[in-house]
Symmetry: C2
Subunit: 397 residues, 2 copies
C-alpha cells in the first residue's frame, strides 16, 4: 500500500495553500532542493569539468529516463530525458513520418495542446513533402483512422477538460490500419497508469515539470518502441546521440537505441532536480495513485456541485474517462480563479472560461479538496470574481 | 579599465587549482549559486506557478539574450536564449536554407565541431530536398564560397586548435556570392570581441556554459539578423515562440522577431544560473578582455616552449589568428593531461593528441599561467605521462 503521508512529507509546500496546480507546475520536493544545491556547490563548483564523469552528468538522461519509464510502462533503455516537450515531439513526429512510407496525413485532434499542433504544422511545412495535418474533434478521432493516415499524433489527456483518450484501443486501431502512433503524455506521466509496452505505442513524449515535479521547465522525455529504435534516423541529431561522442568523428553514427534521440548537452541543474524529484516515486504504486486520484476528484466534483451551482462541470463525469484533473466552466473564470488563489486555493485558468484543478495524490489529500470547495463556495456566494482586483490579467495566465 | 581582480573575486574556484578548462565548462560564479538557491527556494518553492510572472521566468530567454547580445555585438531583441547549441544550430540552419532559394550546397569545414556536422547531415537528410553538405579544410573555405553555395556554416574558433576564422571577410565574401551565413560562436562568445551587426552575419548560435559560465549544460542562444527575423518560418516551432502563447489558438502564428525562435518551456534553473553568471560581465570591456587573453596565451606559449621541448604548438602562433585557447600536440597527450590535472592544472584533451588550455581573463591571471607551465615542465621532465594511473581513460575525456 502506498504511503501517501510519506510522499506528502517529501514536499516543501507553502503553509496555508491548497495546491491544485501540480498539473501545470509540480511543487518543490525537498530532495530536489538538496540535490540542486549539491550539484551547484560540489559537482559544478568543486569538480568542475570532472562532473561529467564523477557526478554522473553524462548518464543522467538515461538514469532519469529509466525512472520515468517505470511510471509509463516503458522498459529500461527505451526512454531518455532531455530537451523540451515540444522539441521531443518534433523528434518523435519526424521519426514516425520517416518510418511510415508514402502516406501524407498526420491525424490529430482539436483537444490537443496547441503547441503540439504548432510543432506539427511547422515540421510538415519544413519537410516539404506534402504532408497535411488533419485536425478533428476528439470524439471523431476513432472514425478518422484509416489507411490514408501516416501518423496518429495525440495527447492522451486533454489539457483543458482532462478527457482521456483510450490509448490501447486507438493504438490498436491505428496499427490495424498501418498507422504509426505518437502519444503526448504531458498530463499522463505521473497522473495515471500508462502502459506504453502493452499498448504497443510507437513513440511517446512527456513533460518533467508537471506531475513529475522536476521544477520549472524541467527536461522532457521521449520513448521509442524498442523494435523501432534501431531504424530511426533522427532529424535532430547531435553529439550526445552519437555512437561515440568523444571520438569527434566528422560523420554521424547514431547511438544504440533510444540514446540516438539525445541531441546536445542537457541542462544539468534542471536535469538533476528532475532526477531527485523522481525518487519520491519509489514505492508508489500507480494503481494506488489512480485510486486516490479518483477519490480526490470525485469528492471535489460532488462538493463543488453541491456548493456552487454557478459552475458547470467541463470534464467527463466518469472518472474512467478522465485524467487526474477536473475543470469547471464559468464565464468569469479568470477572475474567480484569481479570487480563489487569493484565498489560498491554487488552480489555474485556461481560455476561454475553464477553471482547472489538478489532483496529485503525492501531496494533496481529502482535507485539501474539501477546503478548496469551501473557498470556491465563498468566491461564488460572495461574488468575489466581480471585484476589479481579480479581473486584471497577468502576462502568464 | 576592466577590473579583473573584481571579476576573479566573483568566482568560487577550488583552492590550489589552475583552471584552464573554462572553454569547456566555466567555473561557478558566486552570484549563480545564490541565484539558483533563490529560484529553488523562493520562486519555485514559495511562488510555485506564480513564478512565471512574479519571478520573471517568462521573460528570461529575452533578458538573457540581451545580456549575451552585448558581448557579441548584437542589438537588443536579436538574441534569445534556450535549448542546446545543437538544437539552435538546427533552427538557424533550417531557417537559413529556407531563405536561400534553390541552391543545394551547405559549405562547412573539417575544423568544425563535429556535432555541427551531425546536425547538418541529419537535417539535410530530413529535409529531403537534395541539399549536400560540402566539408573542406578550414584554409579552403574562402576559395570554396561561390554561387552554388546556399549556406556557409562555420564555427568561428576551432575547438581543437583555437584557429580563428575571419568572420567579417568570410561573411562579406559570402554575401557577395549571395550566400547566407550561420556562425557558431561556441568558443567566441565571451572569449573575444564579436561584431555580429558589423559583420552582417545572418544567423549565429552559441553556448552558455563555456566562456559565459552559466553552469553545466546551460542554455544556448540564437541570433537572427533583424532584417531576416520577420521572414523566418521556423522548422522547430512551439508555444513559447507563438505570437500569443496563452491564447491557445490551434494555428501557429510566429512571435515578433527573434522570439519566434523560442520553442518549448525553457529549463528555468539552468537559465537562471546563466542569467546570474552573465552579470559578472557588467563593466567588462571586450577589448580589455582580448588584450588580457592575448597576454595570457602568449606568455603560456613562451613558457611552455622554453620548458617543454616535447610539446608541439598546435595553435596559430599569431594571436590575431587565434581565439582564447592554446593547444599543444603530444602523442601521450591524454596521460600527460591527466598527470597535469593530478598536479592541479586543469586543461583537457581532444583526440587524437591535443592538450588544450583555455584562457579566461575573468578568473585566470599571469601567475596561473606560469604555474601551469611549471607543472607541465614537471610532467614532461619526470615522464609522469608514462605512469599507468594516468593512462586509464574516463568515459568523458
Amino acid at each position: 500500500m502506498t504511503d501517501f503521508t510519506a510522499t506528502r512529507a517529501a514536499f516543501d509546500l507553502p503553509d496555508g495553500i491548497v495546491y491544485l496546480d501540480g498539473n501545470s507546475l509540480g511543487p518543490l520536493p525537498r530532495a530536489a532542493r538538496e540535490r540542486v544545491a549539491r550539484e551547484v556547490e560540489v559537482s559544478w563548483g568543486r569538480m568542475l569539468i570532472r562532473g561529467w564523469n564523477e557526478a554522473g552528468w553524462m548518464d543522467l538522461p538515461e538514469v532519469v529516463g529509466k525512472k520515468i519509464g517505470r511510471l509509463v510502462g516503458a522498459p529500461t533503455g527505451s526512454v531518455v530525458a532531455g530537451d523540451s516537450t515540444s522539441v521531443n515531439l518534433f523528434k518523435a513526429l519526424t521519426a514516425a513520418l520517416d518510418l511510415s512510407g508514402e502516406r501524407k496525413v498526420v491525424l490529430s485532434d482539436s483537444g490537443n495542446f496547441p503547441t503540439d499542433l504548432y510543432v506539427a504544422q511547422q515540421a510538415l511545412a519544413a519537410l516539404g513533402r506534402g504532408h497535411v495535418l488533419k485536425i478533428v474533434a476528439p470524439e471523431e478521432v476513432d472514425g478518422a483512422i484509416d489507411e490514408t493516415v501516416a501518423v496518429l499524433m495525440l495527447t492522451q489527456v486533454d489539457y483543458r477538460s482532462g478527457r482521456l483518450h483510450d490509448m490501447a484501443a486507438l493504438t490498436a486501431k491505428a496499427h490495424a490500419a498501418g498507422v504509426m502512433t505518437v502519444w503526448d503524455l504531458a498530463h499522463s506521466a505521473g497522473a495515471l497508469p500508462v502502459d506504453l509496452s502493452g499498448t504497443g505505442a510507437d513513440f511517446a513524449i512527456g513533460c518533467g515539470y508537471k506531475y513529475l515535479n522536476g521544477g520549472p521547465g524541467a527536461p522532457a522525455f521521449i520513448y521509442v518502441r524498442p523494435e523501432h529504435a534501431e531504424r530511426v534516423s533522427p532529424a535532430l541529431a547531435g553529439w550526445m546521440g552519437h555512437a561515440a561522442p568523444f571520438a569527434f568523428d566528422l560523420g554521424y553514427v547514431p547511438a544504440d537505441g533510444v540514446n540516438r534521440m539525445r541531441v546536445g548537452t542537457p541542462p544539468i541543474l534542471s536535469m538533476a532536480s528532475l532526477d531527485a524529484a523522481l525518487d519520491v516515486w519509489d514505492g508508489v504504486s500507480m494503481a494506488d495513485l489512480r485510486a486516490r486520484s479518483i477519490e480526490l476528484s470525485q469528492t471535489f466534483i460532488a462538493e463543488v456541485e453541491a456548493r456552487c451551482p454557478q459552475l458547470t462541470l467541463a470534464s467527463p463525469r466518469d472518472p474512467a474517462l478522465r485524467g487526474s484533473q477536473v475543470s469547471f466552466a464559468f464565464a468569469e473564470g479568470y477572475a474567480a480563479m484569481q479570487a480563489a488563489i487569493a484565498h489560498g486555493v491554487v488552480g489555474d485558468f485556461r481560455a476561454p472560461d475553464i477553471m482547472r484543478f489538478g489532483f496529485t495524490p503525492l501531496y494533496v489529500g481529502l482535507d485539501d479538496v474539501v477546503r478548496a470547495a469551501e473557498v470556491l463556495e465563498r468566491v461564488m456566494g460572495e461574488r468575489l470574481w466581480d471585484r476589479p482586483e481579480f479581473k486584471q490579467r497577468a502576462k502568464v495566465t
